[in-house]
């Protein structure tokens, strides 16, 4: 266990050192290191794992977005999958029906999800906890049902042949090629979440989560920040949806947006540590792999994941990220105290 901790300690120290040279350096390096992953995966395992890498990147975007509204701002939402669906269907429809390029359809899908995010967020102004969960669940499920019953949105057959994005003559039409796109998107998403969350905005989100009355008294406009968190998380969900829709083979179906996906998403941020950026990402990687490996037990997944979540909440309430954080903070505190007593003696 301490070995794992110290690995994370080492990594975070290295990142800090690199960032001291230039803020973007760790990101560019990480991107470069992750770029040959499809080739490595196909050499070590098989091509299925390249597909899985694509899916992980998409789920990282979903998890990072959900972490902003749920983990940082403390707003219970079970509507995130609905926003994911809106991003996917909007982007798919725009490219299928208008023949517009991915590069237009994708941002429009993101904006559509962002607008829907305001609607999903509005109940949070009045409701809390279980009531808010029910309200957002209703909104999210109604999106899925609307897709399921409307032929234009695919209904029971789903939307087929959603075109792959292209840049010049390069087409993102294989899992290897598409991986470059989703990797870039996930990295940008992670980078932006750091920028947002490690600023006054992120601190205001956390203050709202911890205590709305104290937050308000200290100058935080609680309603504004709740809605902002919902909208930002919706933009992430919309981006994930668009990327999912255009991923080979370019097929989406309302079964991709069920409550099972929502439970999976919640498990990611609970396992990773509510309100912990890296934790949410680690959670997304682990849970996406488990989710895919247990697909044959599709019907038991909600039960399996729900129970796991309850166990984590009881026995590991801060998740993986919280445990690592606490370890590092304690170590830092002890070191600073030792330094002091050394200086004194």
């Amino acid at each position: 266990m301490t070995a794992i901790y110290s690995i994370f300690g080492r990594i975070s120290e290295t990142i800090e050192k690199l960032a001291a040279i230039h803020r973007l350096l760790p990101w560019i390096l990480a991107f470069a290191l992750l770029l040959p992953l499809p080739q490595i995966l196909s050499a070590l395992f098989n091509d299925y794992y390249i597909y899985l890498a694509n899916k992980i990147c998409i789920f990282i975007l979903l998890s990072v977005g959900l972490n902003i509204v749920k983990g940082f701002c403390g707003q219970v939402t079970v509507g995130h999958v609905g926003l994911y669906a809106i991003g996917a269907v909007s982007s798919a429809l725009i490219s299928l029906h208008f023949g517009w390029s991915f590069w237009l359809a994708f941002p429009i899908g993101i904006l559509a999800a962002g607008l829907a995010g305001i609607v999903v967020g509005l109940p949070s102004v009045r409701l809390e906890g279980a009531y808010l969960a029910l309200a957002t669940l209703g909104l999210g499920e109604s999106v899925r049902i609307m897709i399921a019953v409307t032929p234009l949105f695919g209904s029971s057959t789903g939307l087929l042949s959603i075109p792959a994005p292209t840049i010049g003559s390069f087409t993102f039409d294989s899992y290897t090629n598409y991986y470059y796109l989703v990797l870039a998107a996930a990295m940008i998403g992670i980078y932006l979440s750091f920028s947002i969350l490690r600023s006054a905005t992120g601190r205001a989100f956390m203050a709202v989560r911890e205590d709305t009355v104290a937050a308000a008294v200290h100058g935080v406009n609680v309603t504004k920040y709740k809605l902002l968190a919902f909208v930002i998380s919706a933009l992430y969900a919309g981006a994930a949806g668009g990327l999912f829709a255009h991923m080979p083979p370019g097929y989406i179906h309302h079964n991709n947006f069920t409550i099972i996906e929502m439970v999976t998403l919640l498990l990611m941020i609970v396992l990773g540590g509510i309100g912990h950026i890296w934790g949410g990402i680690i959670g997304a990687i682990i849970v996406t792999i488990i989710y895919d490996q247990t697909l044959e037990f599709y019907f038991y997944q909600p039960l399996l994941f729900g129970l796991t979540m309850v166990l984590i909440v009881i026995f590991m309430p801060r998740g993986i990220g919280g445990m690592i954080d606490r370890y590092l903070a304690t170590k830092k505190f002890i070191a600073s105290q030792e330094e002091k007593s050394n200086a004194a003696s």
């Binding site: 920028s195 911890e210 104290a214 937050a215 008294v217 200290h218």
Partner: protein
């Protein structure tokens, strides 16, 4: 002109009148004490002034020339009123430094969009804020704990963080709701000397609710006494101490003069 003025301030909870036609003036630069038995409406007064509760119709609250009767809490905070809570209400899962940084929220010199489009400026501004907050933590003697989650602090340390978080707002008026509750006598003295130092340094006006009467008598310029939501006495500590209505309401009728004197002095 007083810094804070309430006119006919009232608040009912159902049939209960927690605050009743209260007129209070708090003079700029003073230390104003608010005392009264449990349930007399002291915390309710704080909640009304800071927008946590809405006053009854006909009430008026004026701060520094602004009518804040119907203002939202965050706007009142931005105008320069900071407060602590009787039950502290710290942001438990945030670090001590982050608690103070939230207190600084209304002074943050950048908006949301710059976090995305001009993040290097944001990082730079935050670093400046951090060192300013660290100075404040030095003043309250909590700098060593800057990176600790507030939930892991002792009761006395938590009281200091609540004070620091309020001070991070750079307030004109600092309202303290039983800041010394549960502290040992040594810690009470420490907290008071910190409050006095902060007042001097930042030119604060202070409103303090305190149960330890000795504290009120020694530090306050003016004392207002509440009972059942009504003002039953006001004046200098010495005048209030000798007011019979106050003594009766506050300490009960059974005490003789000696006992009263003892209560006020110990």
């Amino acid at each position: 002109m007083p810094l804070l003025e309430t006119v006919d301030l009232s608040k009912s909870f159902g049939g209960l009148r927690a605050i009743s036609n209260l007129n209070i003036n708090i003079e700029a630069g003073s230390i104003h004490g608010l005392i009264g038995p449990n349930g007399s409406g002291k915390s309710t007064f704080f909640n009304l002034v800071t927008g946590v509760y809405q006053p009854d119709p006909g009430s008026k609250i004026i701060f520094n020339g602004h009518d804040i009767t119907k203002s939202a809490s965050h706007d009142i905070g931005a105008l320069g009123i900071a407060r602590t809570f009787q039950l502290l209400r710290l942001f438990s899962e945030m670090t001590v430094l982050q608690n103070l940084m939230v207190g600084y929220h209304t002074h943050v010199p950048y908006g949301f969009m710059s976090t995305i489009f001009n993040n290097s400026a944001v990082v730079k501004k935050d670093a400046e804020t951090k060192s300013e907050m660290m100075e404040l933590l030095e003043l309250i003697g909590m700098a060593d704990y800057a990176d600790m989650p507030a939930s892991e602090l002792s009761g006395g340390q938590r009281r200091l963080v609540a004070l620091g978080r309020a001070m991070a707002m750079r307030p004109k008026l600092l309202m303290l709701d039983e800041p010394a509750a549960g502290l040992s006598p040594v810690n009470v003295d420490n907290l008071l000397s910190i409050v006095m130092a902060l007042k001097q340094r930042f030119g604060l006006t202070v409103l303090i609710v305190e149960h330890i009467l000795k504290v009120v008598m020694e530090t306050c310029d003016t004392v207002t006494v509440l009972d059942y939501g009504e003002k039953i006495g006001e004046g200098s500590p010495d005048a209030v101490k000798d007011d019979h209505a106050v003594i009766e309401a506050y300490l009960g009728q059974e005490m003789d003069d000696d006992e009263v004197r003892k209560a006020f002095n110990s």
